[in-house]
C-alpha cells in the first residue's frame, strides 16, 4: 500500500508534473499582480485532463512555490508578488537595499520549505484523527459544519461585518442558480440550458481570480516602472548566511510554522493572514523587536514559514469536512468533485491512496521547491522584467479558452466575464472575496443537508439540536453569530473607525 503510493507519487510522469508546476508557480508567484490563487485557477483546465493524483500534485506544487515566489518581487521591488508576502515586504526590501537581497530571499526559501513541511506533517497527523470523528456525522452535523465554516469566513476575512456578510450572501445567491435539490425547479437560469446545472465553479473561479486581475493590471500599464534592485551578493556566501540566520531563530520558525498551519486551517483565513499574525507574534517575542519593519531577517523568517505552513493547514478542513480553508483549496475541492471524488471523512476510507498521495506530493513539492527556488532567485531580474502589457492579453486568452475547455460551451466564457466583473467590483468597494467563494462552494452543501435533514425530521427545526455533536456545533455557530451582530452594531455606529489596512 505504502509502496504503491510511493510508486505513484515518485513515478516519472508525476515527478515531471510536480517539477513543471513548481516552475509555473515560481513564475506566476514572482510576477507582481498575479496571485497564487490565479495560478491555480488557470492551471485547473490542465488538471482536468489528468488523473486525480497528478492533478492534486500539480495544484499543491503550484501553490507551494507561488507563495514562496511572492517574496521575490517583494524583496526586489517592494511589491508583494502575492498578498501572502505583504506582511514582511518592508523588511525584505530594506534588506535588499542594504545589499542582502539574496540572503533575504534564501531565508524566505528555506523557511518556506520548513514551514511547508511542518504544515504537511500536522495535516498528516491531524486529518485522519479528525476524520474518525467526522465519519459519524449525519446531515445535521454537516449542515452545522458548513454554517460554521461560513461564519468563520466572515469572522476572519478582514472587512466590515456588513460587507463580509454581503459577500457571503452573494456567494449563496450564486450557488442557488440551477435546478434546486428539493423539487427540481429551475432557479435564475434565464431560460439558459447550460445554467440548469448551476454556475460552473471553475469558470467562476477563473473569472473572479484571473479575469478581474487582468482588468486591474491593464489599468496600471502607464505607471512608471519600479526600479529593480540588482542582487550582487555572492550566491554561496548568501546561502550560508541565510542558513545561519534561520538556525539562529529556531523558536520563531517553529512557532510561526505551527501557528501558520492552524490559521490556515480556519475557513476564510489563508496564507496572508497567517503571515500577518505570525509576524506580529514574532515581533512581540523577539529579542530585537525594534528591528522589525526595518530589515529584520527574523521577521522574514516568521512570515515566510507561516504562509507556506498555512497551505498545508488549509487542506485539513478541506479533506476532512469538505470545507475549504482558503480559496486555493476551494478550487481544489471543485477539481475533486469534477473527478467524481467527494472530499469528506469517507475519502480516508474509500480512497486512502489519494490522501497518502496528497501528503507525499506535498512533501516532494516542498523539497523540489528548494532547487527551483534557487534558480528563480538567480533569474529573478529576468522574471520581473516580463512586461504587464504582454502578460495581460495572454492571461486573458488562457482564461477564456481554459473556461471553455472545462465545459465545452461558450456559456463558460460569459460566466468568466460576469463573475470577473463582479469580483473586480467587490474588490473595488472593499467587499472581501473569501466569504463569497465559500458561499459558492458551501451553499449547495448547506441547502442539500438542510433539505435532507428536514425531510428526515418532517420539518421540525429543533431536530438540528437533537444529536450530541450537532448540538455543540449548533451552539458554537449561534454564539459566533451573536458576536458578529455585536461587532456589526459597533461598526455601523462608528463608521470612521473602520478596519483600515486590511490588504
Amino acid at each position: 500500500m505504502l509502496i504503491d503510493v510511493l510508486l505513484t507519487v515518485l513515478s516519472p510522469s508525476n515527478l515531471a508534473i510536480i517539477i513543471a508546476a513548481t516552475f509555473y508557480g515560481c513564475f506566476v508567484g514572482a510576477v507582481p499582480g498575479l496571485t497564487a490563487t490565479m495560478a491555480v485557477a488557470l492551471l485547473v483546465p490542465f488538471t482536468f485532463f489528468l488523473d486525480p493524483i497528478p492533478a492534486i500534485s500539480a495544484i499543491v506544487a503550484t501553490t507551494t512555490t507561488a507563495i514562496f515566489a511572492g517574496d521575490i518581487s517583494g524583496t526586489l521591488l517592494r511589491i508583494p508578488g502575492t498578498p501572502a508576502s505583504a506582511a514582511y515586504v518592508d523588511d525584505a526590501h530594506i534588506l535588499s537595499q542594504s545589499g542582502k537581497a539574496r540572503t533575504s530571499l534564501f531565508v524566505s526559501l528555506i523557511t518556506a520549505a520548513v514551514g511547508g513541511v511542518v504544515g504537511v506533517i500536522i495535516l498528516m497527523l491531524l486529518a485522519p484523527q479528525l476524520a474518525r470523528v467526522a465519519i459519524s456525522f449525519s446531515s445535521f452535523e454537516t449542515f452545522w459544519l458548513a454554517c460554521l465554516g461560513l461564519t468563520c469566513a466572515i469572522f476572519v476575512g478582514g472587512g466590515t461585518v456588513p460587507k463580509s456578510f454581503a459577500s457571503l450572501c452573494i456567494g449563496l445567491a450564486i450557488a442557488c442558480v440551477g435546478i434546486d435539490v428539493a423539487v427540481g425547479h429551475p432557479r435564475y437560469t434565464f431560460g439558459s440550458f447550460d445554467l440548469l446545472d448551476g454556475i460552473s465553479f471553475i469558470p467562476a473561479m477563473i473569472g473572479i481570480f484571473a479575469f478581474s486581475e487582468v482588468l486591474r493590471n491593464v489599468q496600471i500599464l502607464d505607471k512608471p516602472k519600479e526600479t529593480i534592485i540588482h542582487a550582487t551578493e555572492k550566491v554561496g556566501a548568501a546561502f550560508v548566511g541565510a542558513l545561519k540566520a534561520v538556525f539562529s531563530y529556531p523558536v520563531t520558525v517553529a512557532r510561526s510554522s505551527v501557528l501558520g498551519t492552524f490559521v490556515g486551517a480556519l475557513p476564510g483565513a489563508g496564507a496572508d493572514i497567517a503571515a500577518w499574525i505570525s509576524y506580529a507574534l514574532a515581533r512581540r517575542f523577539s529579542k530585537n523587536p525594534e528591528k522589525f519593519g526595518k530589515g529584520s531577517l527574523e521577521g522574514v523568517a516568521a512570515g515566510g514559514s507561516a504562509n507556506n505552513a498555512a497551505i498545508g493547514g488549509a487542506w485539513t478542513p478541506a479533506l476532512v469536512f469538505g470545507i475549504p480553508g482558503d480559496s486555493v483549496t476551494a478550487i481544489a475541492i471543485g477539481v475533486l468533485l469534477l473527478k467524481g471524488l467527494t472530499p469528506g471523512p469517507r475519502i480516508f476510507i474509500d480512497q486512502p491512496e489519494l490522501t497518502s498521495a496528497l501528503f507525499g506530493s506535498f512533501l516532494i513539492a516542498n523539497i523540489i521547491m528548494v532547487p527551483v527556488g534557487i534558480l528563480a532567485i538567480l533569474a529573478s531580474t529576468f522574471i520581473l522584467k516580463v512586461p504587464r502589457a504582454v502578460m495581460a492579453p495572454v492571461i486573458l486568452l488562457f482564461s477564456m479558452v481554459g473556461a471553455f475547455a472545462i465545459s465545452g460551451t461558450v456559456t463558460a466564457i460569459w460566466i468568466v466575464l460576469a463573475l470577473g466583473l463582479l469580483g473586480y467590483y467587490m474588490e473595488k468597494v472593499a467587499i472581501p472575496l473569501a466569504p463569497a467563494i465559500l458561499g459558492i462552494v458551501l451553499g449547495k452543501i448547506i441547502e442539500d443537508n438542510f433539505m435532507v435533514s428536514m425531510i428526515k425530521a418532517q420539518g421540525d427545526l429543533t431536530a438540528f439540536f437533537d444529536r450530541q455533536y450537532s448540538m455543540v456545533l449548533g451552539f458554537i455557530t449561534l454564539a459566533l453569530w451573536g458576536l458578529l451582530i455585536l461587532r456589526a452594531i459597533r461598526e455601523v455606529a462608528r463608521p470612521t473607525s473602520q478596519v483600515k489596512g486590511d490588504i
Partner: protein
C-alpha cells in the same frame, strides 16, 4: 464624487430584493415546509439587509477618502484599456462558435497588444505565436474540441 459605499449598498439591496422577489414564485410541494424558494429568499433578504447597512455607513461617512486622488488630472487610458478588455471577451464569446477559435483569438491578441503599445511587428509575432501555442496545448495536447468555424475545411 459620491461615496462608493452608497452606490454599492444600493446595488446590493436592489439585487437582493429582486432575488427574494423572484424566489416567491418558486413552487413548494404539498406536505413540505421548505421548498426551493427558501434559500434564495434567505440570501436575498441578507443582501437587502447588508445593502441597507452599507448604504447607511456610506451616508454617515460622507465624502469619500479618495477626494485627493480624484482631483489629480486623470488619464483616460485605464478606462479605455479596461473597456477594451471587456469588449474583447464579448467579441471572443460571440465569435468563437461561428468564426472558429483561430479567427476569434488572433485579432483579440493583436488588438490588445497594439493597444498596450507593444511595437506592431512584435505584436503580430506574439499574436500568431500565442494563438498557435494555445492551439497546440489545448487542441493537440489536451484534445479540447476548439471550434474551427470558418476554417472547418482546413481542420486537421
Amino acid at each position: 464624487m459620491i461615496n462608493k459605499d452608497i452606490v454599492a449598498g444600493a446595488l446590493l439591496a436592489g439585487a437582493g430584493a429582486w432575488i427574494a422577489w423572484e424566489a416567491q414564485s418558486f413552487p413548494t410541494l404539498g406536505g413540505m415546509t421548505y421548498g426551493p424558494g427558501l434559500f434564495p429568499t434567505v440570501a436575498g433578504c441578507g443582501l437587502v439587509l447588508c445593502g441597507v447597512l452599507i448604504f447607511i455607513t456610506g451616508v454617515l461617512q460622507g465624502r469619500p477618502d479618495d477626494v485627493v486622488a480624484a482631483e489629480e488630472p486623470r488619464s483616460p487610458w485605464p478606462l479605455i484599456n479596461a473597456l477594451s478588455v471587456i469588449g474583447c471577451v464579448i467579441f471572443f464569446a460571440l465569435a468563437l462558435d461561428p468564426l472558429g477559435f483561430h479567427i476569434a483569438a488572433f485579432p483579440v491578441l493583436l488588438f490588445l497588444l497594439i493597444l498596450f503599445r507593444i511595437k506592431w511587428w512584435k505584436s503580430l509575432l506574439l499574436a500568431v505565436g500565442v494563438t498557435a501555442l494555445v492551439h497546440l496545448i489545448f487542441y493537440s495536447f489536451l484534445h479540447v474540441p476548439l471550434p474551427w468555424g470558418l476554417l472547418e475545411p482546413y481542420a486537421w
